[in-house]
């Protein structure tokens, strides 16, 4: 066997052996898509709410837009991470508003607190314990 022939055989053997080795760990899954906006949805016991005042906390809060154009709506940043929102109209258990984020973030980093709820005659609800805000991201 010539020297060239031996080199070729070794190379072939190595190649054959390599194919038979266990597979390496799969690569990590791609990161989840980064959230760029959040939707706040009211969950409450009444169907005739007339106004709602809430506070929304979290990082990278951006612009806010109401989900229902028929309601009167006002929002302002109280601080870098606190947003206060007033919604007055025929409020129902549905999406209230959408909050854009200035950079991707996670739902778990955000918290909504309901401050006041009224009926449609303008009378404050006596208890808010049954009310909550569901936060979902897009």
């Amino acid at each position: 066997m010539t020297r060239f022939a031996r080199l070729t055989a070794v190379t072939a053997l190595i190649a054959a052996c390599t194919d038979s080795l266990p597979s390496p760990l799969p690569p990590p899954p791609p990161p989840p898509p980064a959230l760029t906006s959040l939707t706040l949805t009211l969950r409450g016991p009444a169907s005739d709410d007339g106004a709602l005042l809430l506070e929304f906390k979290g990082p990278r809060l951006g612009t806010v837009s109401p989900a229902d154009s028929t309601s009167a709506f006002s929002s302002e940043m109280i601080s870098d991470s606190v947003l206060r929102v007033a919604i007055i109209g025929n409020v129902s258990n549905a999406a209230l508003l959408r909050v854009a984020l200035t950079s991707p973030g996670n739902v778990s980093a955000y918290q909504a607190t309901i401050l006041e709820v009224t009926d449609r005659a303008g009378q404050l609800r006596g208890s808010l314990t049954a009310y909550s805000i569901q936060i979902t991201g897009q």
């Binding site: 007339g50 106004a51 005042l53 009167a72 006002s74 007033a86 006041e116 009224t118 404050l124």
Partner: protein, 608 residues
């Protein structure tokens, strides 16, 4: 049992008739000449005679026989039946000596009366003359009743009641109908008070009291006095007119008996009155009201307040508009134009608008006026936020600032009694109109009732919280008095204070004041004139108790944007007063919240 004035009058007449059957017989007429003892006409005790004062020097003699011990009653009726005669009497005895004279100084109205026990038997001569300066001729008639005159029992008054021992109970809210009997009768009543309170006594004179005033300098006067056990607490003398009323309040500091003395001067059989005591009439926070001036036109029924804080009132009969400073200085602003008494309003630029003589006027601050449009008349006038001119006529007319008719809404069919009586804008620019008893929100030609106040709404003023102050003629009290008052309603029509205040007779106009810089203030002015039916020339321009208005009036809207921002930045946008005002016009829970803003937006029509 309470009786009406008519029933009381019938009762009075029945009482008189029953006391003397001959009273119903036709009187014996005089026969001239009877101007001397020698030609005296004959009368009899128990009978009636009649005659006239034919001329200033006319004298009539009547002769009647009496025995010693007989009582000679001479009751003359003249002025109480609208005779122009003011009679005087002279009674002479059988010996020719005068035994009694009465020149009508107030026994029974202006009519005289004699009650004399004859000391001798024989012929007694009665001379009756008419005061020279009074009337003579056919209108100067008299009747003489030679009968005993007694003060009759009328309805719920019971004579005698002229001492504390005989004082009759005057229960709260239970009127007493009574007669101020002749010869200075004093009627005493006792008000038993169970707890410290403010008591108001009202004295009303009925329609049938129409004395002939021979000297207008001395009109009939009604008097009220209130005493505790130990002291005079309050007193008032009031020149009384037909269907007039007088009110007198006093503080009953402790439980016990309080005595009210009522009398008229001159008193008389025809001088009936109704007395009522109440502990609620003056409990409004706006009481007591304050008089600014009595020197405004008696028929004025509107007030417009300029941006300098002066008050303007129409004087229809005087064909002028008066300017009144908040301190009561009255001057003429413009003269020579016909103005109706119900329609004055300022625009934001300080121009005054008025209606009269078939014209809608715009009057500049220097008093120059131009005719903008021809309108028939007006019951109310208001200037909208956009400068449009709203005239309450048979319907509701809307003119442009230049006088072009924009819209005409016929509203008679939609209102209770055929027409709008008042029109005004709220601080948020909402137009409200009122008929006689209801205030409506007027939007796009539609009426929505907001509040009801009976009877007869004259005017209303809206404060910056959207609450309504309403001037109401009020229900009749007793005979012909009125419970005229100013009531306060929440923006949704809920009654907050009724009464908020009482005015002397009946408030016919209402307006909030302004400071000299034009900002609305907490002064609420009124005119009280009883539509000119009572005390013409004595209309009062006044204001409710200073300090009693908690929220200023005028068009001072709290923009919804500011109200919303206050929710987001609590305590940094609105003043505490503004927050209180919005709560007062909102859900009234004692604090400012989003419910108040919702109601603000609802009133402004900003919500679906």
């Amino acid at each position: 049992m309470l009786r009406t004035p008519l029933a009381a009058s019938l009762c009075l007449l029945a009482s008189l008739s029953g006391a003397a059957p001959l009273f119903s017989q036709d009187p014996i007429p005089e026969s001239e000449p009877n101007d001397s003892i020698a030609t005296a006409d004959t009368a009899v005790l128990g009978g009636r005679v009649s005659g006239h004062s034919d001329a200033a020097n006319d004298v009539d003699y009547w002769v009647l026989e009496a025995r010693a011990g007989d009582t000679i009653y001479v009751d003359v009726d003249a002025s109480e039946f609208h005779s122009t005669m003011v009679p005087g009497l002279l009674l002479t005895g059988p010996d020719g000596a005068s035994v009694w004279r009465d020149y009508g100084d107030g026994w029974d109205g202006e009519d005289p009366y004699i009650e004399y026990v004859a000391r001798k038997s024989g012929a007694y001569y009665l001379r009756i003359t008419g005061k020279t300066e009074a009337g003579h001729g056919a209108s100067a008639f008299y009747t003489i009743n030679f009968r005993r005159a007694r003060c009759p029992v009328v309805s719920s008054e019971h004579e005698p009641n002229n001492t504390r021992a005989t004082a009759r109970a005057l229960a709260l809210q239970s009127p007493v109908n009574a007669v101020s009997c002749p010869n200075g009768d004093a009627d005493l009543y006792v008000v038993d008070v169970t707890h410290p309170s403010r008591i108001n006594v009202e004295m009303f004179t009925p329609e049938q009291w129409q004395p002939v005033l021979h000297d207008p300098r001395y009109p009939p006067v009604s008097s009220l006095r209130v005493y505790s056990d130990t002291a005079l607490l309050a007193s008032k003398d009031w020149p009384m007119a037909q269907k007039d009323s007088m009110r007198l309040g006093f503080d009953a500091d402790k439980p016990g008996s309080y005595y009210v003395i009522a009398r008229t001067s001159p008193g008389g059989f025809r001088f009936t009155y109704t007395l009522r005591a109440s502990e609620t009439l003056y409990h409004g926070p706006g009481d007591p009201v304050v008089t600014i001036t009595d020197n405004v036109g008696p028929y004025s029924r509107d007030i417009a307040v300029s941006t300098t804080g002066d008050l303007y009132v129409p004087d229809g009969p005087g064909q002028r508009i008066l300017k009144v400073t908040p301190t009561g200085v009255v001057t003429e602003f413009v003269t020579g134009i016909g103005v109706v008494q119900d329609a004055l309003a300022f625009d934001a630029a300080g121009n005054l608008y008025a209606v009269g003589g078939g014209s809608l006027y715009r009057i500049t601050p220097d008093g120059h006026y131009t005719v903008l449009a021809h309108v028939l008349t007006a019951w109310g006038l208001a200037i909208g936020p956009d400068g449009s001119i709203w005239v309450a006529e048979s319907g509701l007319l809307r003119y442009s600032p230049t006088g072009r008719l924009l819209t005409s809404s016929g509203l008679s069919s939609g209102t209770a009694l055929g027409g709008i009586r008042a029109v005004a804008f709220s601080p948020t620019g909402q137009l409200y109109v009122a008929d006689d008893a209801t205030i409506y929100r007027f939007t796009d030609g539609r009426l929505e009732a907001v509040l009801h106040d009976e009877p007869w709404i004259h005017r209303f003023a809206i404060d910056s919280a959207g609450r309504f102050y309403v001037s109401s003629e009020g229900f009749p009290i007793g005979a012909y008095g009125r419970e005229g008052r100013i009531d306060l309603f929440a923006a949704d029509g809920t009654v907050l204070q009724s009464p908020f205040a009482r005015t002397p007779v009946m408030p016919t106009a209402l307006a909030f004041g302004r400071n000299s810089d034009g900002t609305p203030n907490r002064r609420l002015f009124f005119i009280d004139g009883h539509l000119g039916e009572v005390r013409p020339g004595l209309a009062t321009l006044g204001e409710v108790k200073p300090g009693s208005i908690d929220i200023p009036g005028g068009r001072d809207p709290i923009a919804s944007e500011r109200a919303m921002r206050e929710l987001l930045h609590p305590g940094s946008v609105l003043t505490p007063e503004e927050r209180a005002a919005l709560d007062a016009s909102g859900n009234r829970n004692g604090r400012y919240d989003i419910g108040d803003v919702r109601l603000l937006l609802t009133r402004a029509g900003a919500l679906p």
